[in-house]
Symmetry: C2
Subunit: 465 residues, 2 copies
């Protein structure tokens, strides 16, 4: 082919030009901002090639994606656009990073393959980062991949994580995080950070371990006069489980607050926070939820403005009336919880409900017993789609009772000395709850595998990626 007088309009960018050589001041437009108002404007964009196809003899259509947005870019041989340039564009494979200059046009046909409803008539195209050839299934359109082995997905996480559903999952998570923080800040809660390497409660074994939750420290923060606190932070489990519903490392959303009168104060916060969060997800994350639903079909979560609060005894009664055998003082197993979730859905029309006044024997030592019957306690669990997601309640604030309870539960008092000491200087009644961040997203989106909601999901069998 003869030398192209228009050869400056396309080509490979050499590494030296990508080492911060100069500041030209030219502006890139993000793909998500493209719409009809930019018609006839000359713009500069960057993105990864998502699809590339030939249209007729002289045209090439590239779809460029940036984060979760994409735009169709058209190259047609004409005066200022050489056949060599179209050939160059044709040589670029999927996932290559390119920079394109072009003029925005509004086609009179609907664009199906991209998120933005305008096209770019390409004037210049440069490739600045190639991808190695790959034929991994994970890059195929979403609906073809549900049966890939989860472990393989993690081996090729770089590819797996690029599917629209997975990209959007992390946007939902970020929204959950932000809503949790904003809601609690607006309610006067203070964000704190408790230590993750803490003293162990066992007498044998190493002296320190990773915190399974900020439980004792967040209670100490109330003793320390902070009034009401929350924490968004890493929590660790050493469970050897490979189960799809456990992560060894996840993000805990925790709060603790003074109780003014009744542990319903805490349940009020649960209800206010989560109903507001669900509303906000449904309102602000429509696109994200749609993309997830395309790969993992799910029905929107059913919830009410007023969340039903059943006592544990009432829950047991509902199960009994349905012909199920239940021990009224033992915790419900997974099957019973799901069964109860169904019964509540039938009776109240909601998949989000609170079960409270649990038997004291199945709750931690720091749980406050009921005022009228020490067999029961001022505690609660919260369920989404029949899965327990939140555990909380009123804590024992009285020093003597706390020591008695700890001893009767076989806790080594020496190992929780700093915690016990915090209650020596006068503590108001207090309560709180904890919830697994990834589990909120998993259950809101009706997913079966919690690993989908974790960027890397380390577990005892794998520590990469």
């Amino acid at each position: 082919m003869e030398a192209d007088p228009l050869s400056e309009n396309y080509g490979e960018v050499v590494i030296q030009d990508l080492q911060s050589k100069h500041i030209s001041g030219r502006r890139l437009t993000e793909i998500r901002f493209f719409n009809e108002t930019l018609k006839d404007k000359t713009v500069l964009i960057r993105g990864k090639i998502q699809t590339s196809r030939c249209v007729g003899k002289n045209s090439r259509f590239l779809v460029l994606k940036e984060k979760v947005s994409s735009i169709q870019c058209v190259l047609t041989v004409e005066d200022n656009l050489s056949p060599q340039m179209v050939k160059f564009a044709t040589s670029l494979s999927k996932e290559f990073n390119v920079e394109i200059e072009g003029i925005v046009s509004v086609p009179d046909y609907p664009i199906k393959r991209a998120t933005q409803n305008v096209e770019l008539q390409v004037t210049k195209i440069y490739c600045f980062s190639e991808a190695l050839p790959n034929k991994k299934k994970a890059l195929q359109p979403a609906k073809q991949i549900p049966h890939v082995n989860p472990d393989k997905c993690l081996n090729f996480r770089v590819l797996d994580v690029c599917t629209p559903a997975n990209q959007q999952m992390f946007r939902i998570q970020c929204q959950v995080d932000s809503e949790f923080m904003q809601y609690l800040l607006s309610e006067g809660f203070l964000g704190i950070d408790t230590p993750k390497v803490i003293a162990t409660s066992q007498t044998d074994g190493p002296p320190a371990c990773l915190a399974q939750s900020p439980q004792l420290h967040k209670q100490m923060a109330i003793c320390w006069g902070f009034g009401s606190v929350f924490e968004i932070g890493s929590v660790f489990r050493a469970e050897k489980s490979k189960k799809l519903r456990y992560l060894c490392e996840c993000i805990g959303l925790d709060l603790e607050m003074e109780i003014k009168e009744h542990y319903s104060d805490v349940m009020d916060v649960v209800e206010g926070l989560f109903v507001s969060m669900f509303d906000s997800l449904n309102e602000k994350c429509k696109k994200e939820l749609e993309a997830i639903g395309n790969q993992y079909p799910f029905k929107p979560l059913k919830y009410l403005k007023k969340t039903p609060r059943l006592t544990f005894e009432e829950g047991v009664q509902m199960l009994k009336e349905d012909g199920v055998k239940v021990n009224p003082l033992r915790d419900l197993n997974k099957q019973l919880k799901r069964k109860l979730g169904k019964l509540v859905l039938e009776k109240y029309g909601t998949e989000f409900c609170i079960l409270h006044r649990y038997p004291t024997a199945i709750r931690p030592f720091y749980t406050m017993p009921s005022h009228d019957n020490p067999t029961y306690s001022n505690s609660f669990d919260v369920f989404i789609r029949g899965e327990e997601i939140i555990s909380g309640g009123q804590r024992v604030h009285d020093l003597e009772l706390l020591i008695t309870r700890a001893e009767s539960c076989g806790i080594n008092l020496k190992s929780i000395e700093a915690y016990i000491d915090a209650f020596r200087y006068g503590t108001p009644p207090l309560g709180g709850f904890g919830v697994g961040f990834e589990k909120v997203v998993m259950l809101f989106c009706g997913l079966n595998n919690i690993r989908e909601t974790s960027l890397c999901s380390p577990n005892p069998q794998r520590i990469t990626p």
Copy 2:
């Protein structure tokens, strides 16, 4: 003393009444909301006794605090207030938790001992949680305690943390956290959570360790198409240092982003983010900063809307011109950094500045070398009051160059396989930075001891509280 017909108006609350006995619907008013508009209203408050003093024969003044607010409560013997009730109030010690019903009054004298400018004429008073007798120094007014041994402060953290300066420190931190998140969300960054238990890079030793930073994972997130990400999360250091400027566990504020043209893109974010954060702290946290200044006097941070950016070579030159001996290719030690900080303050009038284009030899393997001279790199450090606080730069996005750089730095490629693999599928130029959360607060407030800014500050010598 004879039986008091008004004995129902005061007394000790028994534990049974604090076990969520009933929901009365009565409302407590938070002390921070008290002002003249509540005049003559009957209200209910809760708080801890901060001071208690006798005024004349028949009156007792209690100052009640809740979080960082306080109000003066007055009991004077009269028709509806028995001498026995005043005697009961007199029996209550500092730190006891009480509930008071009273009528708001606006005194014609200024109230010096409380934050709110109205008083409460007490009608009922109940004590619901006593403090054990304590005579610890830490509960004395702020100015008397700066010389308490830091280790002792941690032993009695429950008392130490209650000083107004320490309470406010954590409010400043929460604000830093929230500003960091809000600013980056508004700029289109996505919040992510990377794993904390990761594979080690050493060939000997255990296979997993705690992450010192999300460095490699946040770069992988850019390879994975997230565009621009941030993380607020725990980072761990195993240093045995007892130095006042190191924490073994702290909160890292990290971000990573695509670079469109030059690593100044990243420095632009540093500048925009921190100038906005400083503005916001000065504007929204006046009270908090004042309380900290009362205990630890400091001068407000000097910073400019436009942050000076000096090259490393220019910094070295400034030091040389001042008569200091400097090796132009070695990192500046603590003394040189402080010296340079002083020179920059004299020349530019700011204590916040950026030093960039560091020698490649003193930066990590993933740092992008300069386009014109591989001795220097596309990297930067940021300084507050002569202390390095942020480290960042452009990363190598080119697979071949990355492998060459890692090998030449003696990195075991096998140990970073997942990271290297992430670059096989086409990555745009990228860069970012990391900053220690506690250090921002420490240096903004001109503190000398980073432990003041950490709730519990665990280190190899102590894992409690």
